[in-house]
């Protein structure tokens, strides 16, 4: 029988991969992909709890749908920002976006 713990450990692994990509990647588009990975890990947590601890009300699934909608909006705005920065600085290297660096 599948346990809740399997899903939680899988979500933790996905979240940690997302954090690793978020910090180490140089390409700005890949940073956005890592953010999507982390949002998916959170969604998996919500869905696991919704199925195993609240199988009649399934409020976790409603939360997951809200997270999906907001993730889509975030991806659109984030990619537009990346495009604007690319036009401005002519690069997508995260290490060269240092206008606010002290």
């Amino acid at each position: 029988m599948l346990q809740l713990q399997y899903f939680l450990v899988l979500a933790a692994a996905l979240f940690c991969i997302g954090i690793y990509g978020l910090i180490t990647s140089r390409n700005a588009v890949r940073v956005l992909m890592s953010i999507e990975l982390m949002l998916n890990a959170v969604n998996l947590n919500l869905m696991g709890f919704s199925n195993y601890t609240d199988p009649t009300e399934i409020k976790g699934q409603v939360f997951t749908i809200f997270v999906i909608a907001i993730a889509a909006a975030e991806a659109a705005v984030g990619l537009a920002i990346v495009l604007a920065i690319y036009r401005n600085r002519d690069t997508v290297d995260m290490e060269q976006f240092n206008l606010l660096k002290w």
Binding site: F7, I17, I81
Partner: protein, 195 residues
């Protein structure tokens, strides 16, 4: 609907291996186009895991929104930002990556330990046969205000993305563009060929 437990376990193993492998590929591949397509693999295997969790509607929404919209959007962004550039290696880059890997491994160990040790209050009620009707009831009763706010947020982000991504107009050229249609915004003339 309940499928046999052995089948569930094997399906979960296959889907999780696919998902973790594709996620590692997203992070580690040097070519970003491979990363974008592997991200679609992550989303599809995530939809399969949602089906294992008795969530048919969210699984369909995952495929429609993530694979159909977000992944295509990312591919378009890669095409628009199609600059092949060699990133200059940082000094102490290996130190940064190594310390990040150590921190992420520690975080993973902590999260898994917590999720395994904690005695979750597992409900013994058998899950619903279909999740569409309860989700719709939630949306139109107790989650009505967030639902409408989400639609406003989607509209705002759409307009904001268009405003951010369009070419900015030239300030000294505004007066000259008054002859064109009132419905078109003035913008910088586009360069036809890439640099």
């Amino acid at each position: 609907m309940q499928i046999a437990e052995g089948v569930q376990l094997v399906t979960f193993a296959i889907l999780s291996i696919l998902m973790l492998g594709a996620a590692l590929g997203v992070v580690l591949f040097a070519n970003i186009v491979y990363s974008a397509f592997l991200l679609g693999g992550v989303f599809i295997s995530m939809a399969g895991i949602y089906i294992l969790l008795n969530a048919d509607f969210v699984s369909a929404a995952q495929i429609l929104v993530y694979v159909g919209a977000v992944n295509v959007l990312i591919l378009f962004a890669i095409m628009l930002v199609n600059k092949r550039e060699e990133f200059k290696p940082l000094k102490n880059g290996w130190l940064r990556q190594g310390s990040t890997a150590v921190v992420c491994g520690g975080l993973f160990a902590l999260l898994s330990a917590v999720s395994i040790v904690t005695p979750w209050s597992i409900s013994t009620v058998s899950p619903l046969s279909s999740s569409v009707v309860p989700i719709a009831k939630h949306f139109f009763t107790d989650f009505l205000l967030p639902f409408e706010l989400a639609s406003i947020l989607l509209l705002m982000s759409m307009v904001g993305a268009i405003i951010l991504a369009r070419r900015d107009f030239l300030p000294d050229d505004v007066g000259a563009t008054s002859t064109q249609d009132s419905l078109t915004l003035p913008e910088r003339p586009r360069e036809l060929a890439g640099k």
